[in-house]
Subunit: 647 residues, 2 copies
């Protein structure tokens, strides 16, 4: 990876080949003015290439002279070799500003579940296995039924006992057996419960043991993701995500429930989500190039409402106190019975729920991340509109859902948006000029702010004193970017002519309020759970962050604003889509399927609204980072150092 | 019951109030000439009422004088009080004839399975049970899911563990629970296999424990019978039988299989039999006046071909050597999945098979009759076109199918017919005049001969010397009824003007040959099984006769022709439709469902065509009653006594 050295800061950073120079600066903690998001519009991100060369970076905004002197626009420059870059310091900026204690930029790496570990521990035992059999053909003195022949042979040659044969297999067995002279491959589905029977769910002529596939699926409120998994080695052969077709009926679970209560609504929502699922199934089958008959199981994880809608179970009592879901456990089902375009033999396993607002997606994350086997006290967070928290270890698990509100997904924020092209996802500010450096998704002119960008922005503003711990702008600062419009204070991230929208992109004090309430809900949820089990934040040995949002958030920034407890970044694991991970992992090791019921029962649900200490915790968390700064000792030290420096 | 005394024989018999005099004579072993079957056409059955009075019996065939003297036609007279009847003896009949040793007329009574026995032994435990529960309503501090609430309460209050809840129940539970303030009735389906889970298959608001029903069904090649059973007391609330809709596609299983092999044939036959089943279900629901939602299970027993056709499993290999059925065991199925018009929650249990020609109907009979628990050596016979035999006791069971041919169902007999209106079902002959007394089903003019009538006829003719032990008529007898037409000898049962058809009804020597082959196939089947297990006919402690045919056959007559081994009539049990009995009993006691798999495995199937001794046994059985008359000592004694008497 090429190396970039920034002068005069003497900061060094490695970046992937072809990465943008502005991204390298952000990673190095070097501020370069840039408010157009990386599209070269504002022309402010001028730098000088002192050693080596960058690719591109030339612009009409630079004169020929400047270009000849080595000036480039950072946002248009790609790093393809080692370079030394000088950031021009404007005369009115005190160089000492550059030495202010900055937030260390560090994001824990996404942890891949270690399949080899499973294999070594003998836990790589998929719930579906294929067995190739060369059966003796029947004779008049040995004319057992076809099923008995199959079952007896499996008993003798593979020590398989207590087998049950599905009707669909009985129906096809006579022909399949005689297609390749009684050479067949039987697909065995292991029982989830000890003592239950192994089912023979499919038979195929000849030897197909090398073709053994499963589908894992995350049924999200907004998006649905599916993966085709090779059960012989755990490889993901294809994956595809799409918007849940239900979003046209409402963005959140509550609006879906409201529709489901109307005449025909439940059927419609059920059909729509199954249609999306079928679309994804078709795609991943095609992408992976597998024969559908070789797919034997589909595992689905979703929150409680999504699960009930998918199964066409009336969700009305989920949204009404006392918030009772229909069920937390589901029996093994047939995918075809649920309307899925999969073979008659395909078993559908639906992840169990804990409560109305801690659903199968969270159970899947707890199982798939291995948290339920952890020795150390672990905090699992899935951050989103409905944020869920699980605290515990192998011995106990406590969980709660926080109604964080939609701020993390851009909701309730004036220029909030989903994390799509044009969203400001990274941010830095010059503490003297108060000029910003923006990076947008797709490196285009900014359209708005996504959740992870918002967190970073607020953290930076807090550390640089642009805002105070109540989330109010420092109105005394001398910059046109901080202004009051119609009585509301705001900071202009990008001026109208630098944006994709025909107005300024701003961050307002009400935006800050909303973010503080969202992060306060989450943090106080954690604190309430800890308090209820007699522990404190210092007892936490590991944090697992799940969710699409969790994968993009800057960890240290999230700690700075008090969204996450302050903990060594090495102890934080990002698992991405925990729901999908759990669905996948449980397709690969039957151990998870067996453990799941006990784990679900073990997960003690707290209704925060009914937990007496929650409101106190919440009020205390409505500050940046918190009323009690001592809970964030590193941040406290940085803020104090900064104050000393300025004084 | 009124009493009838016949003079000069001084024979006395009781008959049900309103029964016909000719039937009383038949029961008493008194011969009265009558060849018109009881419709008063031939006018031959004249008797004199000496004491008491009969109802009706007056006819234009009697002169006013005769009527005044007390003459009546026996076939038109009903017995409604005690009477003494004189049978006029024609001058040319030696009275001694009346004292010839006659076949004792005795038919073992149909045994009803004793439900009280089951109850006393604690075995009256239906696989379906209902439990009424008054659940505590949820609160915010007790907001378990509806399913968890139900399952937990069942655990605490009814000690029910290892419960699994069907999706259909989860779907309806939220509403059902809240209909009657959390008072619900749960329907529990017990597992067939130890170690498996009890399933909650239905929930209903309020207390419905007194409404708990099951359907038992016999899927026959020709007819299908269904019963609605009250699981609270074992009562049969309604029953209905109908022709299997498949009969329009062929009379026997082979013709059905041939059709099933054609394009679309299997689907058609499957749909047709399900249509008949649904028709019967609708009828018995209506007749019993039950709420379909209170029906929880349907148990179906049928032969191997009927079972495979019902389940749409290709039966082609059943009719081809080496005669391999697709399966002998079926997993628990959902009735709705099979196309039955029953609730989603209704479980369908399909009786297992032993082989291609010993099917679920026979297994059901073995289970339902309790034979599989018997100490004594028991012979179970289901007599029909495809006759099945089981020999054994609680320790072992051997079985075989005999291709008896259709003679017992009237097939291959010149005037053979099914046991419907107009079929001669009982028969007596005057050994001197050789005039017959016929009784037909429905007391109408004869149309033909049914299986049980044929057996009686042949037995009577054998004992009276009309035919010899090879089944040939005694051509020397002086009567117009024995004659040769186109080289074939025959006996005229009824003259053209006495019949419903416009020709004589006759019994021919080829008819006798066919009957002998049919009974020979059955008897030699029994002997082959006995020989293979090292036993003889004298070891048999009990005979169980099943099948519609078995219920009508005159037991002693069947022994006389050598269809059944000669055994004390008290040791013979008629169970009627054994298949339906088994289906019913297994609905009432889960013990049977649990035992069934082991019993089926225990039933050793013999392919008679491949058993070396079978052909020898068969040839030896092609006599009346058998080559070895010593196997029928009582008949031998009677025949010898008769010979002495005549000499």
């Amino acid at each position: 990876m090429p190396k970039v050295v920034f002068l005069p800061h003497a900061k060094e950073v490695e970046i992937e080949d072809g990465g943008s120079l502005i991204r390298a600066a952000m990673d190095a903690g070097v501020h370069i003015n840039a408010s157009c998001g990386g599209e070269g519009v504002c022309g402010k991100c001028r730098i000088i290439v002192e050693k080596g060369a960058v690719t591109d970076g030339v612009s009409e905004r630079l004169s020929d002279d400047e270009t000849a002197q080595g000036y480039r626009l950072a946002c248009l420059s790609q790093i393809t070799e080692d370079v030394t870059i000088r950031v021009p310091v404007e005369s009115d900026i005190d160089a000492s500003v550059l030495n202010l204690p900055a937030t260390p930029r560090k994001t824990a790496r996404i942890r891949q579940y270690n399949l080899n570990d499973l294999k070594e521990k003998g836990l790589f035992v998929p719930p579906i296995e294929k067995r190739y059999l060369e059966l003796p053909p029947p004779t008049i003195t040995d004319n057992l039924s076809d099923v008995t022949r199959l079952v007896s042979f499996l008993k003798i040659t593979h020590d398989e006992h207590r087998l049950e044969v599905d009707l669909s297999v009985i129906r096809k067995l006579p022909e399949v057996m005689r297609t390749d002279n009684f050479k067949v491959t039987a697909t065995l589905a292991r029982p989830v419960h000890e003592g239950s029977k192994t089912r023979i769910i499919n038979v195929q002529p000849g030897d197909t043991t090398d073709k053994d596939y499963a589908i894992a699926m995350d049924i999200g409120t907004t998006t649905i993701y599916g993966q085709m998994i090779d059960l012989n080695n755990g490889d993901v052969l294809s994956e595809y995500g799409d918007f849940n077709g239900q979003i046209s009926y409402g963005e959140d679970v509550i609006s879906r429930i409201v529709l489901a209560e109307k005449e025909g609504g439940l059927d419609r929502l059920g059909d729509v989500v199954i249609a999306t699922i079928n679309k994804i199934i078709t795609r991943i089958i095609k992408k992976a190039g597998v024969n559908p008959d070789d797919i034997s199981t589909i595992t689905l994880a979703g929150n409680t409402t999504m699960t009930q809608l998918m199964l066409k179970i009336d969700p009305r009592f989920i949204r009404r106190a006392p918030y009772v879901p229909a069920s937390t456990l589901y029996p093994p089902l047939r995918a075809a019975d649920l309307g899925m375009t999969l073979g008659d033999h395909v078993a559908a396993l639906v992840f169990p729920q804990v409560s109305s607002y801690v659903g199968g997606d969270i159970v899947a994350g707890v199982m798939g991340s291995g948290m339920y086997l952890a020795d150390e006290l672990t905090l699992y967070m899935d951050i989103g509109t409905n944020a869920e928290i699980v605290i515990g270890n192998r011995d106990w698990l406590a969980c709660a859902a926080c109604s964080a509100g939609p701020a993390f997904e851009g909701g309730g924020i004036k220029h909030g948006m989903r994390a799509t092209k044009g969203a400001v996802e990274d941010f830095s500010i010059d503490p003297l000029t108060l000029e910003p450096m923006l990076i947008t998704i797709g490196d285009v002119r900014p359209k708005g702010i996504c959740g992870s960008g918002l967190i970073t922005m607020v953290a930076v503003m807090l550390e640089t004193g642009i805002i105070d711990n109540r989330g109010k702008f420092n109105h005394d600062l001398d910059t046109p970017r901080i202004r009051q419009i119609d009585g509301i204070w705001e900071y202009v991230l990008a001026w109208q002519d630098e944006t994709q929208i025909d107005r300024d992109v701003v961050l307002t004090e009400p935006d800050l309020d909303n973010l503080i309430r969202a992060k306060g809900a989450m943090y106080s949820g954690c604190m309430t759970l800890l308090e209820n089990v007699g522990l404190t934040v210092t007892d936490i040995g590991r944090i697992i962050l799940a969710g699409g949002f969790g994968s993009y958030v800057d960890l240290e920034k999230a700690m700075t604003i008090g969204l996450l407890p302050e903990i060594d970044a090495d102890k934080v694991t990002f698992i991405g889509n925990g729901s999908l991970l759990g669905a996948k992992m449980s397709s690969l090791t039957n151990r998870i399927r067996k453990d799941i019921v006990e784990v679900t029962k073990k997960m003690t649900n707290f209704e925060l609204s009914e937990t007496s200490s929650y409101m106190d915790q919440y009020v205390a968390a409505l500050f940046l980072p918190h009323t009690d700064i001592d809970q964030f000792p590193k941040l406290k030290a940085r803020l104090e150092a900064r104050r000393r420096h300025i004084e």
